[in-house]
């Protein structure tokens, strides 16, 4: 009797044990799949998951808080003092460099958080790249998406460095921005500006090697897709960012090497992937026949679907208090119209609309096949980088490079820069070029900062790090112990 009972206990207990083991082993029972959200484990099991994740990052970059406005024609350009504006413009505090103003602060904070959110979205994708089976990818996509993700991660960090850290010329030992390489809640410590730039350069070099499969570079069968590749962080976008990064860091030798490699690729005999804007493209009568944005020169451009809604409140007469405009005198000086007679520059001729009093920048009023394009990286910049990097070592080449750009902008050979220019004069010409070429594109402020100019033309405030280094968000300082 007693034995029988014991047997029963044992069978009862073993039943429970079996059931528990069943539940323990069956962890899948807990892996439920929500409909409105997709587990990353499933998302990155397919090629489309990787593509969609990249697309999401481009989407976010296209928002007004980033390249849709603030990092192009908005905040970044306002800080360069290029625009004239009324006293009650929404950017009136920004133009005074009042970074404590809550409106300016919220723009700055949202650039920081948006960029890092993009980086987190790239990092999770790159994490999955560590173990993904490359067989799930078609064509060249394994390398392409990986290169784009790495390139964008470096590019976005570099943009943050340009805004939130000291320029290397000023202090390369100062702390840079945190360089985040994993999707994790742990706080990444900052390292020096120089070391951070090395991370950026490292990622860009890796990106370039993956992107060698890009049809823009290989230029063989997929020529038809070239225009499309301009909307993604392609091979040349990565390579030009690399040259830009060397220049920022002050490594002129490598900047020159990379820039010259790119320019070599663009030489006539190699079917260049980008082409200078021909006068026939801009002399049309109908709006949709005028290529004001010089679309074929955009090495990396973002697709802004509601471009008109975004730019109309700033670049028209009707914009009222918020409009950005230029006085006749200012444009005359920028383009050296009366001083040197360079008024036939395409950028001047076709870039503005005159309402009888002020000039409005017209490159963002886009129509037809030139619509919805926000320039992020331009072809001309690689010539400027190469010129600047060689101004001491090979001034003749520098002048030649600048003249290539000027010639393509309709500045005749008679007005070409003479070969006698000194390094200093070359730099001054590069400055003028940045101002004309990237007008309304948010590059000039970083030019001032890179070379640590003590004044920014048009501002009475002394240009120090108080202006050049944007404050990190309060939350970042408090919770990241910055």
């Amino acid at each position: 009797m007693k034995i029988f009972v014991k047997n029963n206990i044992i069978s009862g207990i073993s039943l429970i044990v079996t059931l528990m083991m069943f539940l323990t082993s069956c962890d899948d029972y807990f892996d439920v799949s929500p409909k409105s959200q997709i587990l990353t484990d499933e998302h990155f099991n397919r090629e489309s998951g990787f593509l969609d994740q990249l697309t999401g990052v481009y989407s976010k970059m296209s928002r007004t808080s980033m390249y849709g406005r603030e990092l192009t024609f908005g905040l970044a350009e306002v800080l360069s003092q290029n625009y004239d504006m009324d006293g009650d413009n929404v950017y009136r505090y920004a133009v005074e460099y009042d970074y404590d103003n809550s409106g300016v602060q919220s723009r700055i904070n949202s650039i920081w958080s948006s960029a890092y959110n993009c980086i987190a979205n790239l990092n999770i994708m790159l994490d999955y790249y560590q173990n993904v089976d490359s067989a799930i990818f078609t064509e060249n996509h394994y390398n392409l998406y990986r290169g784009e993700a790495l390139g964008l991660r470096a590019f976005l960090h570099f943009e943050l460095m340009r805004s939130f850290a000291a320029s290397p010329v000023y202090n390369s030992g100062a702390l840079g921005v945190p360089y985040i390489t994993e999707y994790s809640p742990s706080v990444t410590p900052q390292v020096s500006v120089n070391e951070t730039m090395d991370y950026i350069i490292g990622d860009l070099q890796e990106a370039v090697s993956y992107l060698e499969s890009d049809s823009l570079y290989s230029a063989e069968s997929k020529y038809a897709y070239r225009g499309e590749r301009q909307f993604y962080f392609n091979y040349y976008a990565a390579k030009q960012t690399l040259a830009r990064a060397y220049l920022w860091k002050g490594d002129l030798q490598n900047a020159a090497i990379v820039a010259e490699e790119v320019i070599e690729d663009y030489s006539e005999e190699r079917t260049p992937p980008f082409s200078w804007t021909h006068y026939t493209e801009i002399q049309g009568v109908k709006n949709d026949e005028i290529n004001r944005i010089f679309s074929g020169e955009l090495v990396f451009r973002l697709n802004i679907t509601n471009m008109a809604d975004i730019v109309d409140p700033y670049f028209t007469e009707e914009a009222g208090a918020n409009s950005f405009y230029f006085t006749e005198e200012k444009l005359d000086a920028y383009f050296e119209k009366s001083s040197k007679g360079l008024g036939n520059d395409f950028r001047s001729l076709f870039g503005f609309s005159y309402d009888g009093e002020n000039q409005y920048l017209w490159k963002y009023h886009q129509y037809g096949s030139f619509d919805d394009m926000m320039p992020v990286i331009r072809l001309s910049e690689i010539y400027y980088i190469a010129a600047e990097a060689q101004k001491e070592t090979n001034p003749a080449r520098s002048i030649e490079l600048l003249n290539i750009v000027r010639e393509n902008r309709n500045i005749t050979i008679d007005d070409a820069l003479p070969e006698t220019l000194t390094a200093e004069e070359i730099q001054e010409e590069i400055f003028k070029e940045y101002r004309k070429e990237f007008l309304g594109e948010g590059q000039l402020f970083y030019y001032y900062k890179r070379l640590n100019y003590s004044t920014i033309e048009g501002s009475s405030v002394a240009a120090t790090n108080a202006i050049y280094v944007w404050p990190m968000p309060d939350g970042e300082i408090e919770f990241g112990n910055r």
Binding site: M20, T55, Y58, S59, V177, G475
Partner: protein, 632 residues
Amino acid sequence: MFVTNNKSSESPYGSFGLYARMNPYSRIYDDNGQLIQSYNYNGTFEPNPIWNTTINTKDVSEYTDLSNYFYGEWKIKPQLKLVGRLGITAKDYQTDIFYPASHTNFINETNVYQKGSYNQTTGKSLYTSGDLGINYSFMKGSHLFFMNGQVNFNNTKYDRVSLSAEGFPNDQMDHVIFAIQYADGGKPSGSEGISHSAGGLASLNYSFDERYLFDANYRLTGSSEYGSNQRWGTFWSVGAGWNIHKEKFFEGSSFINQLKLRFSTGYTGSQGFNTYEALSTVRYYTSEAYYGRIGSYLVSMANPNLRWQSKYDSSVGVDFSLANKRVNGRFDYYVANTESMLTDVTLPASTGFNYYRANLGKTENKGIEANLNVRVYQKDNNYVNVYASAAHNKNKLKEISNSLQAFNNEQDEEKSQESSASKESITTPSVRYIEGESINTIWAVKSLGIDPQNGKEIYMKKDGSVTYEWDADDQIAAGDAMPSVTGTFGISSEIKNIGCNVAFYYRLGGQIYNSTLVDKVENANLAYNVDKRVYTDRWQKAGDMALYKAISNTSYTRPTTRFVEDYNTLTLSSVNLYYDFRNTSLVKKSFLQQLRFSVNMNDLFVISSVKTERGTDYPFARNATFSIQATF
């Protein structure tokens, strides 16, 4: 199996509060005897809520509930039993809220396409659960064992979709399909979720000679809601008891019938957060595309290490029964520590996100509970019982996360604003999370009263200086909303078939922030009908020794100690009287088996140290219920 169908409609009259705030001089009818729809108050229109009863509106909720429970028991041996249960509950529901263009909600809307609204919500949920248990007990001599083992599972699934449409010119077209358009910027919204959990438990009870009792419990629970690294939570508890009255030295005592000491300690788990926070997931953008493709993005910073929030409970207690079981009582002392609380931890934005969920934070609850029940009189079926209970609890935040500090700052900032979308966020004291303080602390700035010179409130700063400026940094712990003691007491009796039960509720100690007083007198909008104290008790001219700030001062009154009041109450919570016809000739001689008349009244009165209005949305009501119970 049960099938329940329920349909409820809201009254078209709207809340009583809408009527209470109307100015008494506003006319209901115009000169032609027509109902007036709205009144013009300096350009904005104020509704006449009674108007809405003359038009067709709809506010209907309906649900169908289907549930089935299965229970099986198998006695394998007299001491060995297998028990299984399986339950399914499915629910379908729909809510329709319709206001036509003529409804007073739209009197200030000019766009005819946006006049009239229809909100429809449909949803369904499915809940299944089951368990299988085995019990075994055996006795040998003075040893008694009882063992219990169980495995169980729970599945929950829900799905809710709601949509809003607008533009309903005619009040008879009360179906969503007659809408002119979707609500401005609106699209279908809703939520959906699924969770699975399963677990097992084992327990062992042992008693020796009915004198010494021990028990041990072990529980294992797994849930899809927890991090993939921490799917399982394990909890244990042990307890012991000593029946002192069974000891030899007590045997034969006629006065003490029961005296038992109890002790227990252990962990109990709890859960409660969004189903997918532990998992990294992506979503697709719903309104943005990039170059003809829709992109995906990470939803949050997942925390795969998220684990069960655990609560560690310890308690000691005593049960006693004296004097022929006429006096019964129990007393408990407990300490409950909640550890690894699930809270948001603020992250630096460089991680890509603003916060993530983590196990951080501790709270402590300590308290005592006591019950006493005395049978004062008993003879045959007649008895009189008196009873009383008291409870005291003290709450303390021992450790909080950085996000709660950030939350405090945010609230302070909000309080310092001139105006805000929600007035309450400025005028009512906020819950502040401060280590070492209770979560129930009332935070307010020390007030020295109203300056008779100018009708401004004088505040005392933390450094002792005085100021007219309210500053969030000067907030002090002005009171504790938790009472020192709460409890009930009362009588239950039946004498000669007449029953009488009276129950009181009391609270002693602690404070309350008299929000109704602030809102009705100081923060009142003078455009509406207001409390008369606005005109009688507020400061009007120099020299007025007023309780309330200047009538001309329309700024919001922020939390001030002026409105923190000691809060003691006594409530007659229920009275029940009945006459039972048991053993009467009426029942004995008729076909009736039982007959009882009773009357039941709730919340008869409240005596309180604080005068408060209980709100006009649900005005205070005294209810009496009469009932007759008869069994044939």
